[in-house]
Symmetry: C2
Subunit: 448 residues, 2 copies
C-alpha cells in the first residue's frame, strides 16, 4: 500500500456525519425561529476579512488566535498575510454597518449564525472551528434593547428544553466604579478584572493572591473582594451596588440602567433567570454598558454572552453608533444537550422513509417509477442501486434505519400495485401505486 495521507480533519475541527448535521440543524432551527419572532433579520458575511479589519479588535491574546491567510501568486513566497478568518461575528457586523449604513434601517436588528475560527488549544467543547449564533441591535441606547435580547435568549434556551440556566448580568461602568471605589488604580483595572474573573475557579483566597501578584496592594485587594464577592441576590444586590456607588456618578447611572433592565424584564420570560452579579467581567474590551453571560450548572464556562458596545462601530465609521448584542455557542449547547439526552427522537431519525428494492436489472426503470411516485408526496425515498438478493436489500435498509421497503414483483406490477413491507413489524401490505404514498405517510405518522 502506498503512503496514504492522513484522513483526519485538521486539529480542532470535525466532520459532521448526517446524524450530527441533523442535531445541529435542529438547534439552529429553534434559535433562528426565536430570533425571527423577535424581529431580527439574517445577515451573512465572508469567512475571511481583510487582515487589518480584525487585528487590534480582540486584545493581544485574541490577535494571536487569528488564522492568517497567505497572499497569493508571486507574493506567496514573502510569507505575508493579507486576509484572516473571522474571529467572531461582531467585528464583521461593525464593518457591515459602516459599509452599508444607507441601505439599513435606523434600528437594524440582525441575527447571524455562521462559523468562526480561533487557533485556540482544543479542549472539551472548545474547537478551532465553531458556530456562533448572534443577535445584535444597532441604533438605540434604550434598555428595552437589552430586555428584548434577554427575553429572546431565554426563549431560545427554554425552546431547546433547558430549565436550569441563569443569566448573569452586570454593567461595565458599575465594574469600573467598584474598582475605583475599592482604590484600584485605573491602569490596574484590566489586571484586576482578569483576576476577579477567576473567582468561580480559584476561590476568594486564590483571587486575593492573584491580585497581589499583579501588583495590587493587599488592602485594596481585600476591598475588591468585599465589593465583588456576591452575598446577596435580586433587588438586594442592586441596593447594595447603589449604596457602594452612591458617590460615583457614572457608577450610579450604571446601577440605575441595571435597575431599569431588571424592572422591564420582570414582565418577560427572562424574569426568573436574571442574577445581577457584580463580579461578571466578560473578556472582550469593546463592551461599554450592560454585560451578560448565560450558564448551566454542568458546564464550566458559559453557553454564551454579550453586552452593549457603543463605540466599536465608530472604529469603522468615524462616529459612534450604539449597539448591543449577544452570542450563543452552538457547540456548547450541543455538548450539554447530547449529554443530557435532550434531542427529540425524530431529530435522529434522519434516514430515508422507504427503500425501493430492485428485482433485477430490467426492473430498475420500474423502481425509478415507483420512487418518483412516492417522492411527489414529499417522501424521502432511496432506490437500491443494484440488482441483488431481496434479503440483502432488506438488511441494508435495516442497517440504515429505514423503516419501510417497497417491493414490486411481476404480480404486483401486473396488478398496478406495490407491496410495502414494514421492517419493524415484518407486516407486508399490497397497495395500488396511486395509494402508496398515502399509505407510507400514514404508516410513518408523517404530516400530510
Amino acid at each position: 500500500m502506498p503512503d496514504m495521507p492522513s484522513t483526519k480533519p485538521p486539529s480542532g475541527t470535525r466532520d459532521f456525519l448526517p446524524a450530527d448535521v441533523r442535531r445541529r440543524e435542529y438547534v439552529i432551527g429553534v434559535v433562528r425561529g426565536v430570533y425571527e419572532r423577535y424581529g431580527f433579520e439574517p445577515l451573512e458575511t465572508p469567512a475571511f476579512e481583510n487582515i487589518e479589519t480584525l487585528l487590534g479588535k480582540y486584545g493581544e491574546e485574541g490577535n494571536k488566535l487569528i488564522f492568517k491567510i497567505l497572499k497569493r501568486g508571486q507574493h506567496e513566497s514573502t510569507g505575508e498575510a493579507d486576509l484572516a478568518l473571522r474571529y467572531d461575528l461582531t467585528v464583521p457586523l461593525a464593518r457591515v454597518i459602516a459599509q452599508h449604513q444607507s441601505a439599513l434601517p435606523k434600528f437594524f436588528k440582525r441575527y447571524q449564525i455562521q462559523p468562526v475560527w480561533r487557533a485556540d488549544r482544543p479542549a472539551r467543547g472548545r474547537f478551532r472551528e465553531f458556530y456562533q449564533c448572534d443577535i445584535d441591535a444597532i441604533g438605540s441606547t434604550s434598555p428595552l434593547v437589552e430586555v428584548e435580547q434577554l427575553a429572546a435568549l431565554c426563549d431560545v434556551l427554554a425552546g431547546l428544553g433547558f430549565d436550569d440556566f441563569v443569566v448573569r448580568l452586570n454593567h461595565r461602568a458599575a465594574l469600573t466604579g467598584l474598582l475605583e471605589t475599592a482604590g484600584v488604580a485605573p491602569e490596574r483595572h484590566a489586571d484586576a478584572l482578569v483576576a476577579l474573573d477567576k473567582l468561580d475557579k480559584i476561590g476568594r483566597d486564590g483571587v486575593a493572591a492573584d491580585l497581589t501578584a499583579r501588583g495590587i496592594d493587599a488592602a485594596v485587594a481585600d476591598a475588591c473582594l468585599r465589593v465583588f464577592v456576591q452575598e446577596t441576590t435580586g433587588e438586594a444586590t442592586l441596593a447594595r451596588l447603589s449604596g457602594l456607588l452612591h458617590a460615583h456618578p457614572a457608577g450610579r447611572e450604571a446601577v440605575s440602567n441595571l435597575e431599569r433592565i431588571v424592572g422591564l424584564a420582570s414582565g418577560t420570560t427572562a424574569a426568573s433567570r436574571i442574577r445581577v452579579d457584580p463580579s461578571l467581567a466578560r473578556g472582550l474590551s469593546y463592551y461599554t454598558g450592560a454585560i451578560l453571560e448565560v450558564a448551566v450548572p454542568d458546564l464550566s464556562g458559559s453557553l454564551g454572552g454579550g453586552g452593549r458596545y457603543d463605540n466599536l462601530i465608530g472604529m469603522f465609521l468615524g462616529r459612534d453608533v450604539p449597539a448591543c448584542g449577544f452570542s450563543l455557542g452552538l457547540e456548547r449547547i450541543i455538548v450539554v444537550m447530547t449529554e443530557r439526552n435532550m434531542f427529540p427522537e425524530a431529530v435522529s431519525r434522519g434516514v430515508s422513509d422507504i427503500l425501493v428494492t430492485v428485482w433485477d436489472e430490467p426492473s430498475q426503470a420500474d423502481a425509478l417509477h415507483v420512487a418518483s411516485q412516492l417522492r411527489r408526496s414529499g417522501l424521502r425515498v432511496e432506490v437500491y442501486p443494484e440488482a441483488d438478493k431481496l434479503g440483502k436489500q432488506f438488511k441494508y435498509a435495516s442497517s440504515c434505519g429505514t423503516p419501510l421497503v417497497a417491493i414490486r414483483g411481476d404480480d404486483e406490477r401486473a396488478a398496478g400495485q406495490v407491496a410495502i413491507k414494514d421492517l419493524r413489524s415484518g407486516q407486508q401490505t399490497a397497495v395500488s401505486i396511486g395509494e402508496a404514498a398515502g399509505f407510507v405517510t400514514e404508516r410513518l405518522g408523517l404530516k400530510t
Copy 2:
C-alpha cells in the same frame, strides 16, 4: 476624522444583507428538499483541510487557486502554510469516506451545501467565496446512480422554476476513445481536451488553430473536429458514437453505459433534458466515467456539473471505491433567477409582521407584554425601542416594509384591547389582546 480602515468586504467576497440571505435560503431550501427526497443525507466538513489533503488533486491551475493558511505562533515567521481553505466539496468527501468508512452505510449518499474558496480573478457570477450544492453517491457502479442524480438535478431546477435548461452528457472513456481514434497521441489528450472545451467560445476554426498550436498535427486536428463537432442529437448521436468507436473496446463500453443511462432516464423527469454531447470534457482530472454539465441559454458557463470518479477515494483509502456526484453553483443560479425575476414575492417579504409602538417610557413594559402575546403565535414582532412620536414610528415601520403596527393607549389598555393599524390601507381595528394574534395572522394571510 481619523484614518478609517476600508469597510468593503475582501475582493471577490460579498456581504449578504437580509434580502440577499432570504433569497439564498429559499434556493437552498428547494435544493435540500429535493436532495432529501432522493435519499441523500447531509454532511458537513471543516472550512479548511490539512494542506496536503488538497494539493495535487485539482491539477496545476487548481493548486494556484488554493487559499493557504499560515502556521500559528512561533512558526508564523517562517511563512509556512499547514492548512488551506477547501477548494471544492468532493476532495473533503473522499477524505471523509476514508476516515469514517466503518460508520457509513455500504451505499453512502450524501449532500453537502457549504462555501468553497478559490483565489480566482473575480468576474460576473464568479466569486472567491461561493457555495456549492453537492450530491454524491458512494459504493456502486450502477448506472442507476447517474440516473437518480440526473433526475434530482432536473427536479431541483424545475422546482426553482427553470424551464429551458439542458444537461449535456458524455463519458470520459468515450472521449479517450474518440481522441485515440482521431490519432491524438496519449500525452496530447489533456491538451486536446482543453482546446476542444472552448468550442462554444472560439468556434471550429479557433479550436483547429489552438490544437495545432498545442503541437497536434493539422490532419489529426481536423479528424478531432469531425468527431467532436455535434451534428446529430438524441439517439442518432449515440449511434454515431457507437459507429466511431466500434473498434475501441473501452470506448464501446462507454457508449453502452451512456445508452443504459439515457434509456433508464427516459422514464424520469430528466428525459427531455439530456443531450449526449461528445465534446463535453469537464476540467477536473479525477473523472473516470459519465460526465455531465447543466446550462441555460443566458449564462455563459454552466450552472453545475459532475460525473463519475471511481479512483479519487482510493488516493485516501488505498483501495478504489466507486463514486459519482455533481455540484450546483448557488451563486450562478441566483444570478440567473434574479435577472429573470424568478423569486416568489413572499421570499423578499422578510421583514417583521408587526411593529409594536411605544407610547412613552412607562408604557415600554406594556409593549413588551403585547409583543410577547403575539410572538407566542409565531408572529415576527418588532418593538420600537424608544419613546417617540407615533407618526415617526409608523414611518419607520413603513420604511422597513412592516405592514402592521400595534398601538395601545390608555383607553385600549383599560379595555384589555390593542389597536392594530394596517399601514397599507390605513384601516385601524381595536381587538382584544387575546384575539390580536389571530387577527394579525388572518390579516396577513399567514398559515395558522
